[in-house]
Structures are given as C-alpha cells and as structure tokens.
Symmetry: C2
Subunit: 112 residues, 2 copies
C-alpha cells in the first residue's frame, strides 16, 4: 500500500490518540492534500515546524500499529469478506454446492 493510503488508514484507527494539532495537520496533509507550506501559512508557523509535527504524528501512529496490529487484523478480515463476496458474485444465480461450502468456510473462519 502506498504511504498516503496507509497513513489515512492509521489515522482512521488511531487518530484520536494524537493531540488536536497533530490531528489537524495530518488531516490537512494526508486527507486534504495541503502542502507543508500551505499548512504553515494557515497556522502561522514555519514549514519545518509542520514537517516536525507530521513526522512525530506518523511515528506515533506507526508505533500504535506495531503494538496492536489492529489495522492489519481489520484488513485481513476485509480481504476474507472480499473473497467470499467475489465467490458469490462470480457464481450469479447458479451457486454450486462447492462454492457455497467455501463461502461458509471463509465466513466461519472470520467468526473464529
């Protein structure tokens, strides 16, 4: 996954653990595509200060995922649901028994 999408995903999961300022900068930079310079201007700080806040926020978000792995867990579950859905979508109205069994297996493994 490219960094932008990954940071947005990490922020979606752990963003509430950042300070308000970190949250604001991450949102503007990663979700709204502001440049460092634009954020700096809007907040009356230096470009370097924005850069530092973003680096710090990225580090914090990355550390939480290293510790908890909840984004990975979620992505894995999503991948499995996607697989089940693809099997159902591809079989249209002629769902054979084998496919049905496979779909059930996948869903059951998600239920743990």
């Amino acid at each position: 996954m490219e960094k932008l999408a990954w940071m947005n995903l990490l922020y979606d999961f752990y963003g509430q653990l950042l300070t308000q300022r970190q949250q604001k900068f991450v949102e503007l930079y990663y979700a709204h595509d502001f440049s460092l310079g634009e954020i700096a201007e809007q907040f009356g700080v230096s470009r370097q200060a924005v850069h530092d806040v973003l680096k710090r926020a990225e580090h914090i978000l990355t550390r939480y995922e290293e510790k908890l792995g909840l984004v990975a867990k979620f992505m894995d579950q999503r991948r499995q649901v996607g697989e089940a859905l693809a099997l159902l979508d591809n079989s249209n109205n002629s769902l054979d028994e084998k496919t049905l069994m496979r779909v059930r297996e996948i869903l059951r493994s998600i239920m743990g």
Copy 2:
C-alpha cells in the same frame, strides 16, 4: 456482555498498551480466573495492591475503547458476518435468489 468477557476482549485489543505487570495481573485475574489473594501471594504484594493494579488497568483499557471504539467496530463486523453465515446455513442446498442477494448486500456493506 458481562464484565469478564468484556475485559478479556478489551485486553485482547489493547493489552499491549499496558505495563508488563498490568498485563500479567489482568491475564491471571480475567483469563485464568485467579483470585486477588492468589495473585497477591504469587507476586508477594498485598491484595489491595493487586486490586489497585487491576482497577488502573481496567480504566486504561476502557479509556482506549472510549477513544478508539475499535472493539465495537470489530463486534459490529462480526455480527454482520454472523448474520450472513446464518442465512447461508439455514438455506442448506436450496439457496434462493433473494437470500443470496441479502447475503451479498451484507458482505458488501462490510467492505464499505
């Protein structure tokens, strides 16, 4: 959900954010059903000390869930997968088109 199951779930998600001692006590008390007295004896501390560590750990885990809501998010997804699975299980080999559509709908909503 009763407290024991809920604490185990919170611990499963956020336990890595606790100190080693907090982790150990929570595991013994909630997952392995040790009493406060048994933990106290094993670690050579007072029953009150064990109680305090557990209360503190519960507070931390609860606060993370209040902030992030990831257990709730996960449980909701699980509930949806369970619903899809029940529809497939109940229809055996005679899966009608309407049920199939509903299952797809559920899975698609999980994919977001």
